[in-house]
């Protein structure tokens, strides 16, 4: 290889050249995807305000994304609150500051854990199903069939799904907050011996409505982002069953990444 590389005019690509090319391809791919998702988001916004309003489809998706995720979100919330109360009370007991367990759990849940965990749960449960369903409809030409029947697939299929994400992820986040605080209360008061009055009073003292709002704004952004990503990947799937599988994997990875990146971006933007 070394001899070949030294020959004049051989034009053997160097390792650096290949590395730069690969990075360039990746970056171009990411920019292309972001552009595609933004463009789809714009189309969804335009179709969302045009008649007819398909209330039945919207309620079906609200039910699937929201009501269907209630149990898993509550369970995650309870255990997150419990484990966080357990760990923080261990730490605060070292310097007799157990009264801060309630506010610590409350602030962490409302600002960060609840929106992030809820969005992750919705991604795993609902967005994966959305992506697979849309991908299957794409590869079996059902989406083309909608178009040939003069029905916009974006309005019929995507608008209800994205709206459901936008509305239901914040509501589920509130549920997560409630379940998480209930779990934390049980551990702090019943197992760690912190007085109920202290737990509740201190939490009220430290927790502002702004903290809850911050979490809810994040939840709405996550809900919009993950459903858009899932819809984009499914809507543009190709290549049969394998292609649908790949689209779903990519949707899951991209959604999870979007949640952690947007968590930082929105957090900084709000403060």
């Amino acid at each position: 290889m070394a001899e070949e590389a030294e020959k004049p005019g051989a034009h053997q690509p160097t390792a650096l050249y290949i590395a730069v090319e690969q990075i360039g391809k990746r970056v171009t791919g990411v920019v292309e995807e972001l552009g595609g998702i933004a463009s789809l988001g714009w189309s969804v916004a335009r179709w969302a305000v045009r008649p007819p309003l398909r209330v039945e489809n919207l309620f079906a998706q609200l039910d699937f994304v929201g009501v269907g995720s209630t149990f898993i979100v509550m369970l995650t919330g309870v255990f997150s609150g419990m484990v966080f109360a357990h760990q923080s009370s261990r730490a605060f007991m070292l310097f007799n500051a157990e009264s801060l367990v309630g506010p610590t759990v409350a602030l962490t849940l409302t600002r960060e854990l609840a929106p992030v965990f809820t969005a992750l749960m919705v991604t795993m449960r609902a967005v994966s199903a959305m992506c697979t369903e849309l991908g299957t409809m794409r590869v079996t030409e059902q989406i083309d069939a909608l178009e040939t029947m003069a029905v916009s697939p974006i309005q019929y299929l995507l608008v209800p799904r994205v709206l459901a994400g936008l509305v239901m992820v914040p509501l589920l986040t509130m549920l997560f907050n409630t379940a998480g605080m209930a779990g934390a209360y049980v551990i702090a008061v019943n197992l760690k011996g912190i007085s109920p009055g202290t737990f509740i009073y201190r939490t009220q003292q430290w927790l502002d409505p702004e903290d809850i709002n911050e979490g809810l704004i994040k939840a709405a952004v996550f809900g919009l982002a993950v459903t858009l990503i899932g819809c984009y990947k499914g809507y543009n799937a190709s290549g049969g069953a394998k292609g649908v599988g790949q689209a779903t994997t990519q949707a899951m990875v991209s959604s999870a990444l979007a949640i952690v990146v947007l968590d930082y971006v929105v957090g900084v933007a709000l403060h």
Binding site: E141, Q142, A145, T148, S152
Partner: protein
């Protein structure tokens, strides 16, 4: 078909995907009420041409005139109106698998008309009767055979009484008996409804059976458009090779 007006005219249509120049100046004219089979090898651009006819793809240049209107410069809203003149039967039927046969066939009625449920049931029953299916309204697509799904696909395509029905590879992957069944379905639908039919196919036997004219797509152009009887006398080398391969197999 002498004297009939063209329902579809494709004029000097070009389309490229990246460096792949798929359509290189397609010219095609299909008379009202006739059946035109667009024949060609796999990958010759038949489906791309069909997607231009229904406005799912925009050409790089050229015109597509449907029922007297050029659909190329149309907005999505205008195209949606033109698409109601079309019904399309897909290769894999493309029935909505989460819906029953009734819900599939009545889908366009629910979207584009204000019919009551009873009126829709009556229309769906009549359309299913035309394609030879009775009493399957409450079944799901997964309960039906390939041939039955094709028929439900046709019933769904004709539910709004379109002027044009497009068939995308209607006999691909079907056994000979079902192929015959589907060919007859296309002929019967034309007789019963008087529609203009466009059939995309690479199945020569079906093309000869159902087509009033056969348009042969090769190298991104229509190199012949003649009645089936005259196609066998074609001197075009691509047509000769395509037909000789078929006839040597003794399948027709």
């Amino acid at each position: 078909m002498a004297g009939a007006q063209p329902m579809i005219q494709v004029i000097d249509l070009h389309k490229s995907f990246g460096s792949n120049h798929v359509l290189r100046g397609v010219n095609l004219s299909i008379d009202e009420g006739s059946t035109c089979v667009i024949l060609g090898t796999s990958g010759s651009g038949k489906t791309v041409l069909m997607k231009h006819i229904i406005g799912l793809l925009k050409p790089d240049s050229g015109r597509v005139i449907v029922d007297g209107e050029d659909i190329v410069p149309m907005t999505p809203e205008q195209l949606a109106v033109v698409r109601r003149k079309f019904g399309m039967v897909f290769q894999g039927s493309a029935l909505f698998d989460s819906m029953t046969v009734f819900e599939n066939v009545s889908f366009a009625l629910r979207e584009h008309t204000r019919m009551s449920d009873d009126e829709m049931r009556e229309v769906v029953r009549r359309k299913l009767e035309i394609v030879g299916l009775v009493g399957i309204e409450d079944k799901y697509p997964s309960d039906l055979s390939g041939g039955m799904r094709k028929r439900v696909g046709l019933a769904r395509a004709i539910v709004l009484d379109p002027k044009i029905v497009l068939y995308d590879e209607p006999t691909t992957g079907l056994d000979p008996i079902t192929t015959d069944y589907v060919d007859q379905m296309i002929i019967d639908a034309k007789k019963a409804l008087g529609v203009t039919s466009v059939v995309i196919s690479h199945d020569v036997a079906s093309a000869f059976k159902v087509g009033d004219t056969i348009a042969f797509l090769h190298g991104g152009r229509i190199v012949e458009q003649v009645p089936p009887k005259l196609l066998r006398q074609s001197q075009n080398p691509a047509v000769k090779v395509f037909l000789s391969t078929w006839f040597e197999k003794g399948e027709y």
